[in-house]
Point group: C2
Chain length 368, copies 2
């Protein structure tokens, strides 16, 4: 069976290889679900793993099958799987449990262990292959009517978790009803976060570098009812003068410099969520006295948020469905860049790295 893999630690080692097909009964307790890949998304994480910035092979392997953004169709289920049957569409969560208390209560997304297990990222093979198998616990159903957006399940879960983390942490304030939000970055996380915050009724500014004219990302943000702002046209401090300081910021630029810069524009009692994985060695010089002073006087909060567990996938899929009704036909515009066939992995990674206009780059493994 074909799979797209890398040799972790070796830059630009992406390649096609033969691997053993997965077995349904490799999952204990009759809880296995065997899935045929339909569409597998790639993102900056895959790019950075291929650049050897992070990522590890499972024990006993020298390669790591890539792909953590999964969408497929169930082919077979074990005898103790209740909620899924062949023909169902599913996405699969990314993290697998370790041994901490969090893992034991089903919150492997917040394991307190330093070592984490993520399919397609760290110590577990990913989904960029013909078939995969996993425990039904990690498999989340995608309604048939949403199958055209199924490949966005994982990114949507990331956004849903990030936003939920902010709201949960802000319960410390007794009342928190943010009105103005900035979403920094207009990639898939930025745009899906824009949609979700618009669905909550916030006034959303989607802030990115590229100019607005003829910009597909800007068109999508505005189709969600947000305002797209190019920092090339309106610097961040000027935007703040126009909108007031935002009470909520979702940072998804992939730039750690901007992640820290976002600290400077957050309002009193505001929440900033960092979602970008930045694998480099970059540094930033920050006005530390000023940020610290304002964060203390203003009771401000920052929370980092990583990929979610099954409940976050459910929330993400719900938001995708809600978005289809509120903004019909908009979300599919994120699906800019499809490559067909595992053997075209080189084209897949080329589009991911080089195509600056691409929003979602994904591989169609099999036709739906």
């Amino acid at each position: 069976m074909k799979a797209v893999a890398v040799y972790p630690g070796k830059p630009h080692s992406i390649h096609l290889r033969e691997i053993e097909p997965p077995q349904l009964d490799s999952i204990p307790g009759g809880r296995g679900v065997l899935v045929r890949s339909l569409e597998i998304g790639v993102d900056a994480t895959d790019r950075e793993i291929n650049e050897a910035l992070y990522g590890n092979a499972p024990t006993g392997f020298d390669y790591l099958v890539l792909g953590h953004e999964s969408f497929g169709i169930v082919e077979a289920v074990g005898p103790n799987v209740k909620d899924l049957q062949p023909g169902d569409y599913v996405s699969c969560t990314v993290r697998r449990p370790g041994g901490s208390i969090y893992d034991q209560i089903g919150r492997n997304d917040i394991t307190s262990e330093e070592t984490y297990y993520e399919r397609g990222i760290n110590l577990r093979h990913g989904f960029l292959t013909e078939r995969w198998v996993d425990d039904c616990e990690f498999m989340v159903k995608v309604p048939k009517q949403l199958k055209h957006l199924g490949v966005l399940s994982e990114p949507a879960s990331v956004c849903a978790k990030a936003i939920e983390q902010a709201y949960l942490a802000q319960q410390r304030l007794q009342v928190w009803k943010p009105e103005v939000a900035y979403v920094m970055g207009s990639g898939q996380i930025g745009l899906l976060s824009t949609m979700m915050l618009r669905l909550k009724g916030l006034e959303v500014y989607t802030v990115a570098r590229s100019k607005k004219a003829g910009n597909k990302k800007a068109e999508i943000a505005e189709a969600y009812g947000a305002t797209y702002v190019s920092t090339a046209e309106t610097p961040l401090d000027q935007l703040v003068k126009q909108t007031g300081k935002p009470q909520l910021i979702v940072e998804a630029t992939g730039s750690s410099q901007l992640a820290f810069q976002a600290m400077e524009v957050l309002s009193h009692n505001g929440a900033l969520v960092w979602t970008s994985i930045t694998g480099g060695q970059g540094t930033a010089t920050v006005p530390s006295d000023k940020i610290n002073l304002e964060w203390v006087l203003g009771n401000k909060l920052l929370v980092g948020s990583v990929n979610g567990n099954r409940r976050h996938f459910e929330l993400g899929i719900q938001a995708l469905a809600h978005g289809e009704l509120a903004f019909p036909g908009v979300t599919e515009k994120l699906l800019t860049t499809r490559v067909d066939g595992l053997e075209n992995y080189a084209e897949l990674i080329r589009r991911l790295v080089e195509d600056k206009e691409a929003i979602k780059v994904y591989l169609r493994v099999t036709s739906v």
Copy 2:
């Protein structure tokens, strides 16, 4: 009536002046409480206001009476004050309500307005005077048996709120039971936080620059059952190797560089609380890619915390009382540096600025 004041914006303008005595009936609704000052603490905030780094006079005044750490004895109460009577010992909260929803629900400590009102700091006169008056809402009773620590009520409220904010925000994790905490800084906030975290059963490392031998701050930290660590003897990264990464950090060094450095040692699912007011223009260069990556992967959280409202004063006073039973006679060792009489304001500020061994510098206005 004598008061110690500054001209905000004019460095080193601290002076003694005559002001009008406060009137009980200046507080509406018969809710006034007139208090005679016993002991008023000073801290880095007072020093920085005298250095004109921040602070503003109330409208209609060119001076600001200093002092936000209050302790006094009630002399008279209005007809609608139920819980206080002459002879009661009290401390008084610092912030006064603005108009936001938070102010309306009694959470003026988290007002969402940019302008805040703080007695002795911003737009409201402070307590460094013979008598003061305020609404009974802002007056918190100190038990007679705790009157020797009454001047620590405000600092204790700051610590109680800071720790509570971390625990409240971490409810997002469903389970959070930190075991190892670092308290950075060994001033009054660092030491009182050390005590409160020890009362919660945590393994506490009180981390500061000064060497351990012959260091009074180290003695107090260890009398609370914490481990004092001098970064001059054990660099922070070496300490982390010994203890594991802390799940909770209270940052109270007054150095914004260290506030950001604390971000680098926090554990997965950890909470960092910033409590230092840093009024300068300092900058810090941070390993932004690394911090951002680790915060996202590790679901880490930062929260700024400022002075508290009456509930935090109540929590602080409870912790001081609990500390008296658990660690008898230890907390009073914080009261290193007493100056007698408002007319000795110059000595007060000199000790505050120059005496590096001082922990709590305070003015005895009247004998208890």
